[in-house]
C-alpha cells in the first residue's frame, strides 16, 4: 500500500520548537483524524508536510512510500514538487491572491499536478476539457459557476474560502491530503455537503486518497469515519485510537488527556505562555 510516513518529526518556527517528535503513518485509502487543543501544533504539522519555508524540520523524516516499497524523501522537495508528488493541504486560513481568477489559477495548478514534469510555458490543459471538468465539480459542490471568475479568496466569506479549498481538492485529486479545519466557517448544511464531498473525492473514482482531517468537530467525520484518531498536545501525538476517541474528546474535552500526559501538558503551558522561555534567553 502507498503510504505517507512521518517519523520522529521535530519542527521549529523562528528557532522555537513546536513539534517535538511526531509519528504518523497514513495509508492511501485511510482516513485519520487529528484533534487537539488550540495551539497544540496541528497546523504546524500540516505546513511541515506541505513544505512551508518558515517551518524548519530540525529532526525526523517525511516520506512517501510507493506500492512497491520505494521510498521518496519528501523533505528534499519544494512545496510545488510535493504538490506534484500528490500531497495537498487545505489551508485553515487560505491566502487571497487579488487579480488572479480562481479558474486561471486552478488551470495552472491542475496542469502542473497532472504533468509533474511540466516546465513553465509548456501547454496548459486544453481549455474546453478543463472548463467542463471544473463546471462539473463546481455543480457537485453546489457552487455557482460564476465563482470561478472571482479572484482567488479575495473577499470570499469564511465559508466560501473553505468551499474553494474543497474544490481545489476535487480538481487536484492528490494521493494524500491534509484538511486543516476545512469545516470551520461552514454552516451546518455546508458541513454536511463537505463531509459527503470529501468522502466521495477521497474514496472514489480516480483512486483513493489518504486523508488527515484536522478538526474540532465531529460532523466532518460523519461520512469519513476515521481509521485512526490522534490527539495532539504540546507538539506531540499523545494518544491514538478509533473513532470513539474523537467522540469522547468532542463530548468531554481535553482534561483527561492533560492529566494523563503531564509532560506534554507542561510543554503546552510553555508554548502558550506569553513570553516564550527560549526566546527570552535567545540573546
Amino acid at each position: 500500500m502507498e503510504k505517507l510516513v512521518i517519523s520522529g518529526l521535530h519542527v521549529a518556527v523562528g528557532g522555537l520548537e513546536i513539534l517535538k517528535g511526531v509519528d504518523i503513518e497514513i495509508g492511501r485509502g485511510e482516513i485519520h483524524a487529528l484533534m487537539g487543543p488550540n495551539g497544540s501544533g496541528k497546523s504546524t504539522l500540516g505546513y511541515a508536510i506541505m513544505g512551508h519555508p518558515s517551518y524548519e524540520v530540525t529532526a525526523g523524516t517525511i516520506e512517501l512510500v510507493d506500492a512497491d516499497g520505494t521510498r521518496h524523501n519528501v523533505l528534499e522537495m519544494e512545496a510545488d514538487q510535493r504538490a506534484r508528488a500528490g500531497i495537498f493541504l487545505a489551508f485553515q486560513r487560505p491566502m487571497s491572491i487579488p487579480g488572479v481568477r480562481l479558474a486561471d489559477f486552478l488551470r495552472h495548478a491542475v496542469t502542473n499536478v497532472r504533468n509533474p514534469d511540466r516546465k513553465e510555458g509548456h501547454e496548459l490543459l486544453p481549455m474546453r476539457e478543463f472548463r467542463s471538468e471544473l463546471k462539473a465539480k463546481m455543480s457537485e459542490l453546489e457552487m455557482d459557476s460564476d465563482f470561478a471568475r472571482r479572484y482567488v479568496n479575495d473577499g470570499f466569506s469564511g465559508g466560501e474560502m473553505k468551499r474553494a479549498e474543497i474544490l481545489q481538492l476535487a480538481m487536484l485529486r492528490p494521493r494524500f491530503a491534509v484538511l486543516d479545519e476545512t469545516d470551520s466557517g461552514l454552516d451546518a448544511d455546508a458541513v454536511r455537503l463537505a463531509s459527503q464531498s470529501i468522502a466521495k473525492i477521497g474514496g472514489s473514482d480516480m483512486g483513493v486518497m489518504g486523508i488527515l482531517i484536522i478538526t474540532h468537530h465531529e460532523q466532518l467525520l460523519e461520512h469519513n469515519i476515521p481509521h485512526r484518531t490522534h490527539v495532539m498536545l504540546g507538539g506531540r501525538i499523545v494518544e491514538s485510537g478509533g473513532p470513539e476517541l474523537a467522540n469522547e474528546l468532542h463530548k468531554r474535552g481535553y482534561e483527561r488527556i492533560r492529566t494523563a500526559y503531564p509532560e506534554a501538558a507542561a510543554d503546552e503551558q510553555a508554548m502558550t505562555a506569553p513570553a516564550h522561555g527560549s526566546l527570552a534567553t535567545a540573546t
Binding site: P53, A79, R82, M95, V100, R101, D104, E123, A148
Partner: protein, 476 residues
C-alpha cells in the same frame, strides 16, 4: 454557461515563454541610411534637419529658438540621473527616401523588422491604421479607406506641416511650448516623425490607430512629435509601441505628444513602452480636455534605462474628465520615474489616477504625480490610487504625490500603498503545484490585472506577455 474563463489569462496559453522569446526585440537591422546627420547638436545640425525636410521658415525659426531654450535650461532637478553626452548622439537619421503606402514599398530589411515585431499582422487583424517609424522617419503609413472618406487624417507630422499647415499651426506647440522643460525644448529643436491625427466632428473610429517606434542604430536619438486633434463628439483610440535592440552605450528617446479633445469628444492614448535598457526615455505628454470631453492615458512602462514621463490632462472646460492609468515595471539597471498630472481648471471636472509599479532585481520605480485644482474649479473630483509591489530586498519604490488645491468645494482622494510579494501567497500557490517563477508571475499579473483589463484584448495579451518576459529573469 460560462465557467468564468477569460480569454486574457494572466499567464500565456502556450509556449510563449520558450527561450529565444526573451530576445524578441533585441535584434539589429542592417539597412543603409539614406542620410545620416553627423553626431552632435548644433544650430547647423538643426538647420540641416529643417532643410532636409524642406520646411517653411516658421518651423526652421521655431527649431532654432527651441535650441537656444534647450541650451539655456538646466537639467530637470527631479527624477533620475541623466548621464547623456548630447554630443555623442545622432539627431537625425533618414532610413528610406520615401514613405511606403504598402509594405512592399518599404526597404526590405526594415519591412522584415516590422514583420518580426508583428505589425503588418496586427494591422490586418484589428487596426484602423498604422504608422511605423524607424529611426527618425515614418517609413510606412496606412489608414482605412472609409476613414479617409470621412475626413480622418492620420499621417506623420512632417507631412502634416506641408499638407495641413493651417491646422498644424493652430495647435503645434500650444499645449507644450518649447520652454516647458529641457527635453521638450530639445524635441522642438530636432523633432522628426511622429503622428498627426485629426478626427472630424462626430466621427467615431472603432478600431485603434497604432504607431510603432523602432530605434535601430547605436547612439541614436529619436524625437517624434505627435499632435492629435479630436473634434467635437469624435472618438479615437491611439496606441503606440516602442522597442529597440540593446547596445552598451546610451540612446535617447525624447518625444512630445500634444492632444486636444474638443467638446464631448473622447480620446484614449495607450502606450506599451518596451525600450531596451540602454535608452533614456524622456517624454512630455499633455492633453487638453474641453467641455464634457474625456481623455484617457494608459501608460505602460516596461523598458528603458530611465523613463521620466508624466502624462497630463488639463481639464479646461466644465464637465471634462481625465484618467491616467499607469503601469511601471523596473528591473536591474532600470529606473521608472513615471506618474501623472491632472489639472482641474474648470468646474465639475473629474479625474482619476491609478498607478501600479513593480520593482525587482534592484530596479527602482517612482510615482510622481500632481493633482491641481485651480480657483473656481468648483465641484471637481479627483482620486489617486498608487500601489507599489516590491519583489525583493534590493529593489526600491518611492512615491511623490503632490496636491495643490485652490478651491474649497472639491473632493480629492489619495491612497498609496507599498507591499512586498508575500511569502505566504507564494507558498499558497506553490502548494498547488505552481513553480516559484509561475507563482510570482501570477501574483504580479494579478496585481496589475485591474489596469490590464482596461486594455483591448490584444494589448492585454501583449502586456501580460511582456510582464512574463520581465519576470523571467527574476527567479532561478
Amino acid at each position: 454557461m460560462a465557467t468564468g474563463l477569460q480569454a486574457t489569462s494572466p499567464l500565456s496559453e502556450s509556449s510563449t515563454l520558450a527561450l529565444g522569446e526573451i530576445n524578441k526585440y533585441d535584434f539589429r537591422t542592417d539597412s543603409p541610411a539614406v542620410f545620416k546627420a553627423s553626431k552632435g547638436l548644433s544650430a547647423e545640425i538643426v538647420s540641416q534637419i529643417s532643410e532636409m525636410k524642406k520646411e517653411p521658415a516658421w518651423m526652421r525659426d521655431f527649431r532654432l529658438k527651441s535650441l537656444d531654450i534647450f541650451n539655456a535650461k538646466p537639467m530637470p532637478h527631479w527624477g533620475g540621473d541623466i548621464a547623456i553626452d548630447f554630443q555623442n548622439i545622432y539627431y537625425y537619421l533618414k532610413p528610406a527616401d520615401h514613405q511606403g503606402k504598402t509594405w512592399d514599398d518599404v526597404p526590405s530589411e526594415i519591412k522584415k523588422t516590422f514583420e518580426r515585431l508583428g505589425i503588418p499582422e496586427a494591422e490586418r487583424k484589428y487596426l484602423s491604421g498604422v504608422k511605423a517609424q524607424f529611426e527618425s522617419e515614418v517609413v510606412y503609413g496606412s489608414l482605412q479607406e472609409d476613414l479617409v472618406k470621412k475626413g480622418v487624417i492620420f499621417t506623420d507630422t512632417d507631412t502634416a506641416v506641408r499638407e495641413y499647415p493651417d491646422l498644424v499651426r493652430d495647435y503645434f506647440a500650444t499645449i507644450i511650448p518649447p520652454a516647458d522643460n529641457k527635453f521638450a525644448a530639445l524635441n522642438s529643436a530636432v523633432w522628426s516623425g511622429g503622428s498627426f491625427i485629426y478626427v472630424p466632428k462626430g466621427v467615431k473610429i472603432e478600431f485603434p490607430l497604432q504607431a510603432y517606434f523602432r530605434i535601430n542604430a547605436e547612439n541614436m536619438g529619436q524625437f517624434e512629435r505627435t499632435l492629435i486633434i479630436v473634434d467635437e463628439g469624435a472618438q479615437v483610440h491611439y496606441v503606440e509601441g516602442c522597442t529597440a535592440p540593446m547596445y552598451s552605450t546610451e540612446s535617447l528617446h525624447s518625444a512630445v505628444v500634444e492632444i486636444v479633445v474638443k467638446k464631448h469628444a473622447r480620446c484614449r492614448y495607450t502606450t506599451i513602452q518596451n525600450w531596451a535598457n540602454n535608452i533614456y526615455n524622456l517624454v512630455t505628454k499633455r492633453a487638453v480636455a474641453r467641455e464634457g470631453a474625456v481623455m484617457e492615458w494608459i501608460d505602460g512602462n516596461l523598458g528603458s534605462r530611465l523613463t521620466m514621463k508624466y502624462p497630463s490632462v488639463y481639464m479646461v472646460e466644465p464637465g471634462a474628465r481625465g484618467e491616467i492609468l499607469s503601469i511601471a515595471f523596473s528591473s536591474a539597471g532600470q529606473h521608472q520615474d513615471a506618474g501623472a498630472k491632472l489639472v482641474h481648471a474648470a468646474p465639475n471636472t473629474s479625474g482619476r489616477i491609478v498607478s501600479k509599479s513593480i520593482s525587482k532585481n534592484g530596479g527602482r520605480s517612482s510615482y510622481r504625480g500632481l493633482v491641481r485644482v485651480e480657483p473656481g474649479a468648483r465641484k471637481s473630483r479627483s482620486s489617486v490610487v498608487c500601489e507599489a509591489l516590491i519583489l525583493d530586498d534590493i529593489s526600491r519604490s518611492d512615491t511623490y504625490p503632490y496636491i495643490e488645491i485652490e478651491e474649497q468645494d472639491v473632493t480629492i482622494g489619495h491612497e498609496a500603498s507599498v507591499s512586498k510579494i508575500g511569502e505566504e501567497q507564494l507558498f499558497y500557490l506553490k502548494s498547488r503545484g505552481l513553480s516559484e517563477a509561475e507563482a510570482s508571475t501570477m501574483i504580479v499579473s494579478g496585481f496589475i490585472e485591474p489596469l490590464v483589463k482596461e486594455l483591448p484584448m490584444e494589448y492585454a495579451v501583449e502586456m501580460n506577455r511582456l510582464i512574463e518576459l520581465q519576470m523571467e529573469g527574476s527567479v532561478g
